[in-house]
Every structure is written in structure tokens, then in C-alpha cells.
């Protein structure tokens, strides 16, 4: 294997694998940050560091890197790159060199984020970077701004690339109603990225201009306004939740359809009602992040209604998933376990989000561990489970080899147990009043036991994730040959050889009139 070939590759599959390696590395680093935080919180007072800033840097790194360096790149970088051209029967993406540029920028962004550990004044502004703190801290806010800008730019050019690819490069016979759900979901995610990333870029640029260039966008003593930043930030960052949610639920659809060998239930409902509805509502709900920020009351009430209405498209997508399981032929393989895990984790996360849509209930639990537990269930852990399940699902396609089923399942169950210990307890102490982003909780001594259980849970889930990652590495080196289509799926990516050659197909694919990516046949 030639390193230069990989670095200068324009092959969408290699670009995808580069995204995967980078994002899993980011996941490992951000996961270690989480473990350090859990270790620190295991006792009241200083435990492993006596310096609160050190803790805040871990917290910043954990949030920023998990979202910007792991979930978004893994979903819209790895899965989109690897699967979309294969699923639509294309030789490659529309602009392969632009694609290579996007993965380079991604690595620059990740390296910039990791330099946090080597500079004397690491950023400690949380992944939200709210002013006035971010403009007066001695931490390096510019580092935060540039990390966001570079990763955002990588994502935008990826978005342009994939919208063009799906619009123009589908194989003959693949109509819009024969696209995989994952393709629809990812397209929708890229539409959201193209609309909203510039807003985030603006917000973080203005922060650095305020801090380093003497402008006063957010300084009220000189005519600025503090709340403007929060609006700009969440005007992007709520849709960003759907940029994560849509591709991960798309991955779950692919896994469930393939391992239940069943057609997707009510395809048009899922695509137009579910995916379409989320795109329509995504930009009208950001104020639910600002329910206690001092926004106008009528905005909080108005966006309570839009936020609750998100339950409609999301509910339709859940009905689609359950309907696909119904009357299926479910094999409990490792990817299927992860996908079913997502269904149950997302159920908990989604339902616990209902009170958080209501400002008068949020006023009690906002900025507590309840919120942290909720969004870890609904987005962080559900998304990560989908990513892990997806990597297992397409592992035979990527490597031509099979992972170890026993270790895969063991890893899943360990992680599933750990996750529920950590985040269930987290929601419980949150309702009782434990605020988030605390280095120490000296005035809440009653929560020490719960914190210790969470630390134990975090250690357990770390073991589970480690088993999964080792399973991939060992499987890629010396797994058994898997064959071209181990799951018996008619979806196009399984019709070529494993691993697919440069150009994907020996001869250009075409599909028959009655072909459908979910048309599973007996035999």
C-alpha cells in the first residue's frame, strides 16, 4: 500500500476511508476527554486535576471534536463518500478533486483542533463559544473560530459535490423514487449544510473580530448585542442536529432493510413526509436552545409550537423504521443489533425531548444534566451507534473480509449497557438540579454517588467501543473472505465486487424496470 497514492487519491472510496480514519481518531481523542472529565467528577473537589481551566479545555474539546470532528465528518464525509456513488451506480463523484480537497481540509481542521493540547492558551469557550466570555478569555478563541471555519468549508464543498453527483450521475433507470433512503437523507443534510453553515461561519468570525480586531458586534457598551451571537450560533447549530440525525437514521434504514430483508415501509412517507418535513422545519426551531436566554416571550412561545411539530416528521420516520421491521426476516447480526439499539436509544432520547420543547418546563431543567443526558441519547449516542453499525454493515464491502461476529455482538452489548448507566443517571440528577459544565459540585454533595456510577458507566462503554474498533482493525487485516454480497441485498453497492475497484464497476451498471434497492427476493 502506497501512502502517496492514498494522500493524493481522488477515488471517492479512498476519500471516504480517509474520512473514516480521521473521524475515528477524533472520536478516540474526544472519548478520552470524556473519560478524563468523568474521572475528575468522580469525587467532590479536585480529583485528577486541581485546575478548572484544564477541565474546561477537556469539555470544550470533547464537544467540539465529537460534533465537528467525528459525527459530521463520519456521516457526511465517510458514509456519503463511500456509499452514495455506489448506491446510484456512478463511477465516482462529480468533482473528484474537489472531493480530495475537502478531505484535506478536514484533516487540517482536525489537526488544528488537536493542537489545543500543545499551545499554551488552549480555548476554553465550550463548543458554543458564547460571548462575552469568548471575547475576554485568555484562551485562544481564534483557534476555535478557525477550526469551525475550516471544517465548515470542507463540509460546504462536499455538499456542492454530492448534490451535483446525485442530480447528474445516477445510472440509467434509477429514478428519484428508487434512491436509497440514505441517499435522500444525506442530500437533505447537505442542503441544510449549504443553507446554514455560512451563518455559523459568520458567527465565529465575528467573535474573533471582536476579540482580536477591536470590533464590537457583541459588546453592549459600544452598541453591540450579546444575544445576537446566540441566535446566529443556534440558527446553524440546531439544523446541525439534523445534519447528524438525517444521515444516521438513513444508515439505520439501510441496515434494518438489509438485515430484515424487507422493503422500506411506505417509502414516499419516509422521504417526503419525514426527510422533507425535517428540512422544512429545521430552520424554525432554534429558539428552543434559548428558552432561558432572555429572548422575547412571543418567540419562545412561537418556537415551542414549531419545536413540538418536529415530532411529526421524526414520528413518520420512526413509523417507517418499525414498519420495515414488521413482517421482516430479522437476522440479529452485529450491524442489526446496533441499528435496533438506535431505535430504542432514540425512543428514550426523543421522548425525553418533549418536555424540553416546552419553555415553561425547560425553565426548570435547562443547562442541567437532564439536557446533557437527553441530547446524548438522541443525537450523540444514537448517532454513534448508527455510525458503528454502518461501519460493520459496509465492512465486508470496504475490505472484502468479514469482521468477527462474536466480538462485534459483545462490543455492542457492553456499550449498550454502559450508555444507559451513564445517561439515564445523568438525566435523573439533572432533574434534581445538577447544572452542566461544572468542574466541581461542592454545593451539591448529594450527587456524588450518582457521579461515581456515571464514571463506572463511562468506563464500561469505553471498553465496548474499544472492542468494536479493534474488531475492525483485526478484521481488515485477517478476516475471513466475505464475498460480494454477504447480506443478500439488491441495493446497488452490493452488486459490484468487494472491495470495489477504482471506477466501481467493471462495466457500467444499469437497472431493470422492476428493480428497487429494497426489492428483496427469495432464494
Amino acid at each position: 500500500m502506497n501512502l502517496k497514492e492514498w494522500i493524493f487519491t481522488t477515488d471517492h472510496k479512498r476519500v471516504g476511508v480517509l474520512y473514516l480514519i480521521g473521524s475515528i481518531a477524533a472520536f478516540a481523542v474526544a472519548g478520552i476527554m470524556a473519560l478524563l472529565m468523568r474521572a475528575e467528577l468522580s469525587t467532590i473537589g479536585p480529583t485528577i486535576t486541581a485546575n478548572p481551566t484544564q477541565y474546561n479545555v477537556w469539555l470544550y474539546t470533547h464537544g467540539a471534536v465529537m460534533i465537528l470532528g467525528f459525527q459530521i465528518p463520519a456521516l457526511t464525509g465517510f458514509f456519503a463518500n463511500y456509499c452514495i456513488p455506489l448506491m446510484i451506480g456512478a463511477k465516482d463523484v462529480a468533482f473528484p478533486r474537489v472531493n480530495a480537497l475537502s478531505v484535506w481540509l478536514f484533516y487540517v481542521g482536525v489537526i488544528l483542533a488537536l493542537l489545543t493540547f500543545f499551545i499554551p492558551d488552549p480555548p476554553d469557550v465550550m463548543w458554543t463559544g458564547y460571548p462575552p466570555y469568548s471575547t475576554i478569555t485568555t484562551g485562544n478563541t481564534a483557534m476555535y473560530s478557525f477550526t469551525v471555519l475550516i471544517l465548515g468549508f470542507a463540509s460546504i464543498i462536499g455538499g456542492v459535490n454530492f448534490l451535483t453527483t446525485v442530480a447528474y450521475m445516477r445510472a440509467p433507470g434509477i429514478t428519484l423514487n428508487k434512491l436509497n433512503i440514505f441517499v435522500w437523507c444525506t442530500l437533505a443534510a447537505f442542503v441544510l449544510q449549504l443553507i446554514f453553515v455560512p451563518v455559523l461561519g459568520t458567527a465565529v468570525s465575528l467573535i474573533s473580530m471582536d476579540k482580536y480586531l477591536g470590533t464590537n458586534f457583541f459588546d453592549p457598551t459600544k452598541g453591540g448585542d450579546v444575544l445576537t451571537y446566540q441566535n446566529l450560533f443556534w440558527f446553524y447549530s440546531h439544523p446541525a442536529v439534523y445534519v447528524i440525525f438525517l444521515p444516521f437514521i438513513g444508515v439505520v434504514y439501510e441496515i434494518i432493510a438489509a438485515h430484515a430483508k424487507n422493503m422500506v415501509f411506505n417509502y414516499k412517507m419516509v422521504v417526503y413526509g419525514g426527510v422533507g418535513g425535517i428540512v422544512l422545519l429545521a430552520g424554525e426551531v432554534w429558539v428552543h436552545h434559548l428558552y432561558v436566554s432572555g429572548m422575547a416571550d412571543w418567540l419562545r412561545i412561537g418556537q415551542m409550537v414549531t419545536t413540538l411539530m418536529i415530532s411529526i416528521p421524526v414520528g413518520l420516520m420512526m413509523i417507517g423504521l418499525i414498519g420495515t421491521l414488521y413482517k421482516g426476516s430479522i437476522a440479529f447480526t452485529t450491524p442489526m443489533l446496533y441499528a435496533l439499539g438506535v431505535v430504542f436509544l432514540f425512543l428514550i432520547g426523543g421522548l425525553t425531548g418533549i418536555p424540553l420543547a416546552v419553555p415553561s418546563l425547560t425553565i426548570g431543567v435547562s443547562d442541567t444534566y437532564y439536557v446533557v443526558g437527553h441530547f446524548h441519547y438522541v443525537m450523540a449516542v444514537a448517532g454513534t451507534f448508527a455510525i458503528f453499525g454502518g461501519v460493520y454493515h459496509w465492512f465486508p464491502k470496504m475490505t472484502g473480509k468479514m469482521y468477527n461476529e462474536f466480538w462485534g455482538k459483545l462490543g455492542f452489548w457492553i456499550t449498550f449497557v454502559g450508555v444507559n448507566i451513564v445517561f439515564w443517571i445523568m438525566m435523573d440528577v439533572g432533574v434534581k438540579g445538577m447544572p452542566r459544565r461544572y468542574y466541581d459540585y461542592a454545593h451539591f454533595p448529594q450527587f456524588e454517588g450518582a457521579h461515581q456510577w456515571m464514571t463506572v458507566g463511562a468506563a464500561i462503554l469505553a471498553v465496548g467501543f474499544t472492542i468494536a474498533i479493534l474488531n475492525w482493525i483485526l478484521g481488515a487485516i485477517n478476516g475471513k473472505p466475505a464475498g460480494d454480497n454477504p447480506w443478500g441485498s439488491p441495493s446497488l453497492e452490493w452488486t459490484t465486487v468487494s472491495p470495489p475497484p477504482h471506477g466501481n464497476w467493471p462495466s457500467p451498471p444499469s437497472v431493470s424496470e422492476d428493480w428497487h434497492p429494497y426489492g428483496f427476493k427469495k432464494g
Binding site: Y130, P132, F265, D297, I301, V305, S311, G328, P355, G364
Partner: protein, 265 residues
């Protein structure tokens, strides 16, 4: 039993609808509104919270059982090697969109109506309130009473009087969170925000910062001490005497308030 529950539901829905249409001017004004009896937002919060948690628990358990049953029924076994779903007829495909939309939407609007009623409780400050100014800063809560008495990190209030805090910040964002009263609101430079709570009986309550404000965010805590009205009056008299003693030599106390009367312990 069922009739009772039904009746409650109808009453609640009616209240929600009424709130939807009738209270627009009230929250638009965002100001004080006289009420017959002083409402207790913390108690109302507990009621609605428990109801919502009860409902989502029921929904969640039902959903989980049905899903688990489907999964078990559809496990791969001899005779079930491939999924048996058939394409839906156009009518049932549309039905599977329209009916869930109505179900979800009615749950949403019901929740929204109840949430709105509670919101009005949290935002409409009773007329018999006491107004206290709060300036938050890294890392303390500085309270100023209507008569100029100041305290830091410790707010003494009389039981039975609704307290409204008019809040601002001198540096970064802070959020005055009183877990026992289920209420918080951010404070920031350049704007004045408010929250109110109803201390019904004597006791002590933790105040803690709920918006990341800097290195020592986790240590930014204080206390609200609720005293019986007569004890409060005695305490306030003492504070006033102290303040007078401190400000006596000053020619114009209003223009130049003294050093904080008190870091009380």
C-alpha cells in the same frame, strides 16, 4: 374514575384553548397582572412535569413492547427467509401519513396549550411583589433591595411575598438558577431580564450558576433564605441601620451608594 380523568382532560383542553386565545395581550404586555391568589409556579411546574413524564413513560413502554414484539415475530427462521411486506395501496399509504400527523399534532397542541398556561404563570409577575435588582458578575450574585440595602450571594426574603429579580451582568453570561423553585433566566450585559418566584414558607434554597461564565463557573453559588415576615422585618431593620451608619457621612447617598453593606455570613 375514567369519567373523572376524562373530565379533567376536557377541562384542561378548554383551559389550554382559552389560554391560546385569551392571554395573548397578557404575555404580550409581559408585565404585572393582578391575581386573586398568588400562584405558585414551582408547584405548577411539578404538576405539569410529572404529567408529561408519566405520559412519555406510558408511550415509551407501549412503543418499546410493540417494537420488541414485532422484532421477535419477524426473527429469521426456517420458513421466514425473506421479508413478507407487500406494497401499500395508495389509500393506506396516504392514511399512514395523515392519521399519524393528526395524532402527533393533537399531542403537540395539547402539550403546547398546557405549557403556555404554565408559561404565563412563570412570566406574569403578581402585583404584590417585591422588586430586587440583581447584578451578576464573575463570580458572585449582588442583590439590591428597593430601599438600597445590598447583599452578596445571600438573598433574604419574607415568606409569602412574590420576589421578582431584575437581572443584569457586569461581565459574562450568568444564569440565576434556583433548583427548588424550578426557575432560571440568563443575565447578560446590556439587557435586563427577569424571573420571579414565590417563597411560600421559611427555609433555605441553593442558588447556582447555570450558564458557563468562566473558570470558576462551578463555584458560583449562593443562598436564598426565606424568613417568616416578622423575622424578615427585624433583619431588614438591622440592615437599614447598618446602611444608614455607613452612608451617614456622605452628602448625597442616592447619588453615591456606599460600599456593599454586606457580605453577610
Amino acid at each position: 374514575m375514567k369519567g373523572k380523568r376524562m373530565h379533567d382532560t376536557i377541562k384542561r383542553a378548554a383551559a389550554g384553548l382559552a389560554a391560546l386565545f385569551l392571554t395573548v395581550p397578557a404575555w404580550a404586555a409581559g408585565g404585572a397582572k393582578a391575581a386573586a391568589a398568588t400562584p405558585d409556579p414551582a408547584r405548577d411546574w411539578d404538576l405539569l412535569w410529572n404529567e408529561v413524564i408519566f405520559d412519555i413513560t406510558i408511550i415509551g413502554i407501549l412503543f418499546a413492547i410493540v417494537t420488541a414484539w414485532f422484532i421477535w415475530q419477524a426473527r429469521r427462521r426456517p420458513g421466514n427467509e425473506v421479508g413478507a411486506s407487500v406494497p401499500l395501496s395508495p389509500a393506506s399509504a396516504v392514511g399512514w401519513v395523515v392519521i399519524p400527523i393528526f395524532v402527533f399534532l393533537s399531542i403537540d397542541l395539547y402539550t403546547a396549550a398546557n405549557g403556555w398556561v404554565l408559561w404565563n404563570t412563570f412570566r406574569d409577575v403578581p402585583a404584590n411583589r417585591m422588586e430586587i435588582k440583581l447584578e451578576a458578575g464573575m463570580y458572585s450574585w449582588d442583590y439590591t433591595y428597593p430601599n438600597g440595602v445590598r447583599t452578596q450571594n445571600e438573598l433574604v426574603v419574607p415568606a409569602g411575598t412574590p420576589i421578582v429579580l431584575r437581572m443584569t451582568s457586569r461581565d459574562t453570561l450568568h444564569s440565576h438558577y434556583i433548583p427548588d423553585f424550578r426557575v432560571k433566566e440568563d443575565s447578560m450585559p446590556g439587557r435586563i431580564t427577569y424571573l420571579w418566584f414565590n417563597p411560600t414558607k421559611p427555609g433555605e434554597h441553593i442558588v447556582t450558576c447555570a450558564e458557563y461564565c468562566g473558570v470558576m463557573h462551578g463555584y458560583m453559588a449562593g443562598r436564598i433564605i426565606v424568613k417568616a415576615p416578622e423575622e424578615y422585618a427585624a433583619w431588614m431593620k438591622g440592615e437599614e441601620t447598618r446602611l444608614a451608619a455607613l452612608t451617614a457621612p456622605e452628602p448625597a447617598p442616592a447619588a453615591k451608594p456606599a460600599k456593599p453593606a454586606a457580605k453577610k455570613t
